[in-house]
Every structure is written in structure tokens, then in C-alpha cells.
């Protein structure tokens, strides 16, 4: 720099700046420093959105857009504060670059957010092409012609590229508007249309207000207007807040949304009461009205969501009461039916056993058939009652030490005739070196676990074989964990589809086609088995390669 230039700069009597942005050179300090009020929440909100979904493309784009906006705001502050021409030239270039990226990223973000899909590679290249001249010519006189010392206003003078930049900005704003129209036309619901309209309005208002100050600045050569760029900043923050609610990036309570809007409103309102900023009053008033409208929309949107959530909670509570009433009714009906069935069972049993004297063979056959049906009925009702009691937690367990091996052998022997009637062979394999002593409710384990699983295997195997295995961790030939007994029932039956597998052990969890194979299935058997195994500290699960490929039920219980 020549001595003449140094003398000219000295003659301007600029104040020194500290930390790049603190300086007495700025014209309207409150307006200038309120930039920070927009910058900090913008970066915090964008950072929060990113943390809550770092892999989401829309979150990343929103974060990058906010980051570029942050660079723009910071760069703008430096250009207003600094007394060094080189700083002005560099940061002026930086804000021009950041501004171009804000527009591109805003468009990209809008597309991904509204259409829920990414741009294709070709689209990405085409839409990013307008950035190339700005990137390539950033540090040339096409971007900044030079530094204007003629009026001591500390300004750079923009080159022809500024016209390109403004055209590009209008192009992206128009693209957003165009895609918004397309999305609006193809939206399937009014809610979707409203969301698209609000998002597009917010983003375009922000982008245009952002540029408008700069455009007026260039063409009027009134550099104070540049600071009006602030009026885009609160819109952006409010717009971000709205997105957060829509994004559901985090659980923003109604009070949080109201506090955010109030803070924004106050931020702008304070500007009206500060002296010496008459020029800003009009712009600030517009901003104030805009923020107020946006705030009302935001609060109404959140209130609606909160009301819906409360309604769902209320309905949930009512449903719970109705459910309990139905359960009680079901319990009562089942109990009554069980009483009638038991009486009938007893009567047919006595007739069949000849307690009322000799009866003709035909009547005996009839009585025996009726007795078998009555017993089935009692078992079914008992199953429903047991499931109901287990759910209510009113089941008590008679815990005692017993040998599971004896129980398994007994149950298999008891069910063998039913299997043989279907020409199914039950093969039992018991680890001879194992020890099967455990502590539990023997009756419930026998009835609801062992019997249920073997009985199911018989019912769901039209032909083929069933194998029952019993292993223990005490045996040297096992890979089981410490102190465990494993009971396995394997069949070559109808198998289990992946859909049925998901609800196998749930209450009333019938398989899709199971009712065709076993019409008496209540769907409570496996639910009860699981409840009982769980109560004994064990676990139960099933394996199947799919429909028609058989299944394998495994129970692991703690051994003594």
C-alpha cells in the first residue's frame, strides 16, 4: 500500500475493531448487534436438528444451510465493523459465496423435505451448475471490483457477478415456488397442501428478504439498507421453529413454542423503541407483523397437536376401562360355563361308568362321546380362565422340588394314544447322564407347558413324526449354560410362517391358518405356557423354517 493510500485511510478516522465484530464503526449498534440474536438460535436449532437425526439428508441440508447463513451473518458483521480494507474484501467475498450456497441448499432442502426423496445425480449436477461461476470467479474483479475509499464508507464495490448472483437467487426462489405448486397440486390431503404452502412461503420470504436489502443496496448505493438484511433473520428463526414442530426433531412442548415466538416478537419489538433508527421502523413493523402471523400459525399448529395427543390419551384411558369391564364379563361367563360343563361331564361320566345301572351299548357310546366333548369344553374354558387369571396376576404357584424327567415321560405316555390314533410316532430322547430336578409348580408345568407343547405338535402334524428331547447342563455332552434344563418338541407338521411367529406367544395369537388345522384352538395355550415359563425364570421360543416345514419349540428352565 502506498503512503498516499495510507494517508487517505487515516483521514477517514475509522475506529479500531476488536474480535473482528466489536467496533464503534457500525452505524446503528442495536440493529447491528441484534444480528447475533438471530445467528445464535439459528445455529443452535440447526445443530439440535442435526444431532437428532445426523443421517437424515434433510437434517444435514438444513444444518449446512444454517451454517452458510451463519457465515453470511458473521461476514456481514465483520464488513460493517472492520477498519481494514483487506478484511472487507475477504469477508465480502465470503458472504457472497455463502449467500449463493444458502439459496442452493434451501432449494435442495425444500425438495427433499416436501417430496421425501433425493434429487437424482443428474438433477444435482444441473441445479448446482449456477454455483460454478460464483465459485470460479469468487476472488476476481468479476465478484468485487475493488475497495471504495472515495466516501470513507468502508465498502467493496461489486462486479458484474453480482447480477449473476441475484439472477441465480431468483432462479432458486422460482424453482422452490414451482416445485411447491407441483407438490400442492399433487398433495393427497389438505394437511399436506397446507404444510407445503407454509414451508414454501416461509423459505421464499426468508430468501427474498435476505436478497432484497442487498439488491436495493447495490442499485440505490445506500449502504445502510444492507443492514436491513436482519429482517430476514428472525423470519428464518421462526421458520426453523415451525420446521422443528413439523419435523418432530424433538418433543417441543406448547410452552416452548410460545416462549420461542414471544422471544422473537420482543426481539423485533425492542427495535421500535430505540431512537435514531427511524429508517428501520417500516421494515421492523413488517417483520413484526410477519413474525406475529407466523407465531400464531406455529402456536395453533402445536396446540392442535397437543389437543390431539390429549384426546388420544383420554380415549386410551376409556378403552382401558372398557377392556377391564369386558375381561371381568368374560371371566364371569367362562366361570359360569365351566360350572355347567363340569356338572354335565360328571353326569355323563356316571352314566358311562354304569353308576345308574346297566345301559344299552348305543347309549353308552353316546354317553362316552358326550363325555369326551364335555372334557374338551372344560379344557377350553379352563384355558381362557387361566389366561385371564395370569393376565390379572391372580395365579398362585405351588413351588416344590420335582423331577421334570418323570413329568415328561408321564405326559408323553398320556398323549401317545392320541398320536397313535393319527399314526404319528413320538420319539423321546432323554439325556441319560442328565439331572432334571427343578423347583416349580409341577402341575402347571405338566399341564400348560409339557402337555400343551406335545399336544400342539400332535394337532398340527397331519402326518410324520414328533420328537421330544430332554437335556441338562449337568450332562457332559451338552452345550447348555449352567444349571439349565432344556425341553424340546420337534415336529414335521404345518410349520410357522414369519408373520405367525411374531404373534405366537401373544394373547389369542392364532396362526393365520391354524384354525383350519385345529378348530378348537383358543389361541391362549402358548400365551399361558410363556407366562408360566417366565414365572419360573425360564424362557420359551419357537423355530421354524416356514409353512409346511415343521417347527421346534424349546423351553429352558432353571435346574436345581
Amino acid at each position: 500500500m502506498t503512503g498516499e493510500l495510507e494517508a487517505l485511510i487515516e483521514a477517514c478516522e475509522w475506529f479500531p475493531s476488536y474480535y473482528l465484530i466489536l467496533s464503534e464503526n457500525v452505524y446503528t449498534p442495536l440493529l447491528y448487534y441484534s444480528y447475533l440474536g438471530s445467528l445464535i438460535p439459528t445455529l443452535l436449532i440447526a445443530g439440535y436438528v442435526l444431532i437428532n437425526g445426523a443421517k437424515e439428508l434433510a437434517n444435514r441440508l438444513l444444518f449446512l444451510m444454517s451454517l452458510c447463513f451463519g457465515i453470511w451473518v458473521f461476514g456481514a458483521m465483520v464488513t460493517w465493523a472492520t477498519e481494514f480494507p483487506s478484511y472487507t474484501m475477504f469477508f465480502w467475498t465470503l458472504i457472497n459465496l455463502a449467500e449463493a450456497f444458502v439459496y442452493f441448499l434451501a432449494f435442495y432442502f425444500f425438495y427433499v423435505f416436501v417430496f421425501k426423496k433425493d434429487l437424482t445425480l443428474r438433477q444435482k449436477i444441473i441445479f448446482s451448475l449456477p454455483l460454478l461461476p460464483t465459485l470460479a470467479l469468487a476472488s476476481t474483479p468479476y465478484m468485487l471490483l475493488g475497495y471504495n475509499l472515495s466516501d470513507c464508507d468502508r465498502n467493496a464495490f461489486e462486479g458484474i457477478l453480482s447480477v449473476w448472483d441475484f439472477s441465480m437467487e431468483f432462479l432458486f426462489a422460482a424453482l422452490i415456488a414451482g416445485f411447491a405448486g407441483y407438490a400442492w397440486k399433487n398433495a393427497s390431503s389438505w394437511e399436506q397442501k397446507k404444510q407445503t404452502t407454509l414451508l414454501a412461503t416461509g423459505i421464499i420470504a426468508f430468501l427474498l428478504s435476505f436478497s432484497l436489502g442487498n439488491i436495493l443496496e447495490i442499485f440505490t448505493e445506500n449502504w445502510y439498507i444492507g443492514q436491513y438484511g436482519l429482517f430476514g433473520a428472525p423470519i428464518f428463526v421462526a421458520f426453523l421453529a415451525y420446521l422443528i414442530v413439523r419435523f418432530k426433531a424433538f418433543n417441543l412442548k406448547l410452552i416452548g413454542a410460545q416462549a420461542l415466538v414471544t422471544a422473537l416478537w420482543l426481539l423485533v419489538l425492542t427495535l421500535l423503541f430505540v431512537r435514531h433508527i427511524e429508517n428501520v421502523r417500516v421494515v421492523t413493523s413488517i417483520t413484526l407483523i410477519f413474525v406475529l402471523i407466523l407465531g400464531i400459525i406455529l402456536v395453533r399448529s402445536v396446540r392442535k397437536e397437543v389437543q390431539q395427543r390429549e384426546l388420544i390419551q383420554k380415549q386410551e384411558q376409556e378403552l382401558e376401562v372398557v377392556n377391564k369391564q369386558q375381561e371381568t364379563l368374560l371371566h364371569f361367563i367362562s366361570h359360569e360355563i365351566k360350572g355347567y360343563l363340569t356338572k354335565g361331564e360328571s353326569a355323563f361320566s356316571e352314566i358311562a361308568d354304569g353308576d345308574y345301572g346297566a345301559i344299552p351299548a348305543g347309549v353308552k357310546t353316546l354317553a362316552s362321546g358326550a363325555l369326551a366333548e364335555m372334557r374338551k369344553g372344560v379344557r377350553t374354558v379352563m384355558e381362557i380362565l387361566d389366561a385371564s387369571n395370569l393376565k390379572k396376576g391372580t395365579v398362585s404357584y405351588k413351588m416344590q422340588t420335582f423331577d421334570l424327567k418323570a413329568a415328561v415321560v408321564d405326559v408323553v405316555n398320556h398323549l401317545k394314544p392320541a398320536a397313535e390314533a393319527k399314526h404319528i410316532d413320538i420319539k423321546t430322547t432323554i439325556d441319560t447322564q442328565g439331572r432334571f430336578i427343578m423347583n416349580g409348580d409341577e402341575e402347571k408345568i405338566r399341564q400348560h407347558v409339557l402337555r400343551n407343547l406335545i399336544d400342539n405338535a400332535i394337532k398340527y402334524t397331519p402326518e410324520g413324526s414328533i420328537s421330544v428331547e430332554l437335556g441338562s447342563s449337568n450332562s457332559p455332552s451338552t452345550s447348555l449354560g449352567v444349571n439349565k434344563i432344556r425341553f424340546v418338541v420337534k415336529d414335521s407338521g404345518v410349520g410357522i410362517t414369519p408373520e405367525d411367529m411374531a404373534k405366537l406367544f401373544t394373547e389369542g395369537g392364532h396362526g393365520k391358518d391354524s384354525i383350519k388345522v385345529n378348530s378348537h384352538s383358543t389361541g391362549y395355550g402358548l400365551f399361558i405356557a410363556k407366562e408360566i415359563v417366565d414365572a419360573h425364570g425360564g424362557k420359551i421360543w419357537a423355530e421354524s423354517k416356514g409353512q409346511g416345514k415343521g417347527s421346534r419349540f424349546i423351553v429352558e428352565l432353571p435346574a436345581l
Binding site: 500500500m1 493510500l5 487517505l8 443421517k55 437424515e56 439428508l57 434433510a58 444435514r60 449446512l64 480494507p85 483487506s86 478484511y87 474484501m89 475477504f90 467475498t93 465470503l94 459465496l97 450456497f101 427433499v112 421425501k116 426423496k117 433425493d118 445425480l121 444435482k124 448446482s128 454455483l131 460464483t134 465459485l135 470460479a136 469468487a138 476472488s139 474483479p141 468479476y142 468485487l144 471490483l145 475493488g146 475497495y147 471504495n148 475509499l149 472515495s150 464495490f157 461489486e158 462486479g159 458484474i160 453480482s162 447480477v163
Partner: protein, 57 residues
């Protein structure tokens, strides 16, 4: 919508170009101080007429 590898690379390339442009500007303006000063109003060239511009070099 998760970020695909293609989009991640695309954004990384854009970021790289942005940083390169910033670095070149930094070097030119902050290190070399290579820019023109307009001392009087008449020095300011017409931005639409680049031939009126005199380089700082």
C-alpha cells in the same frame, strides 16, 4: 430419508469447492492484499463494462 453415499460425496465436493474458493480469496485479499482502491468517484468503473476496469496488478 437417509443420506445416500452419492449425496454425501456430492455435498463433500461442494464443500471442497466452497473451501477452495474461500482459501483463494483469503490468499489474494488477506495475504497478498491484491485488490484495487477507488480513491475518487471517477475511479469507480462501470460494473457492466469490464474494459473500463484497470487491474490492481
Amino acid at each position: 430419508m437417509k443420506t445416500t453415499k452419492e449425496s454425501a460425496y456430492f455435498l463433500a465436493i461442494l464443500l471442497g469447492l466452497f473451501l477452495t474458493a474461500v482459501a483463494i480469496s483469503y490468499y489474494r485479499y488477506m495475504v497478498l492484499h491484491e485488490f484495487q482502491y477507488f480513491v475518487t468517484e471517477s475511479d469507480i468503473p462501470d460494473r457492466f463494462e469490464m474494459s473500463s476496469y484497470t487491474s490492481a496488478l
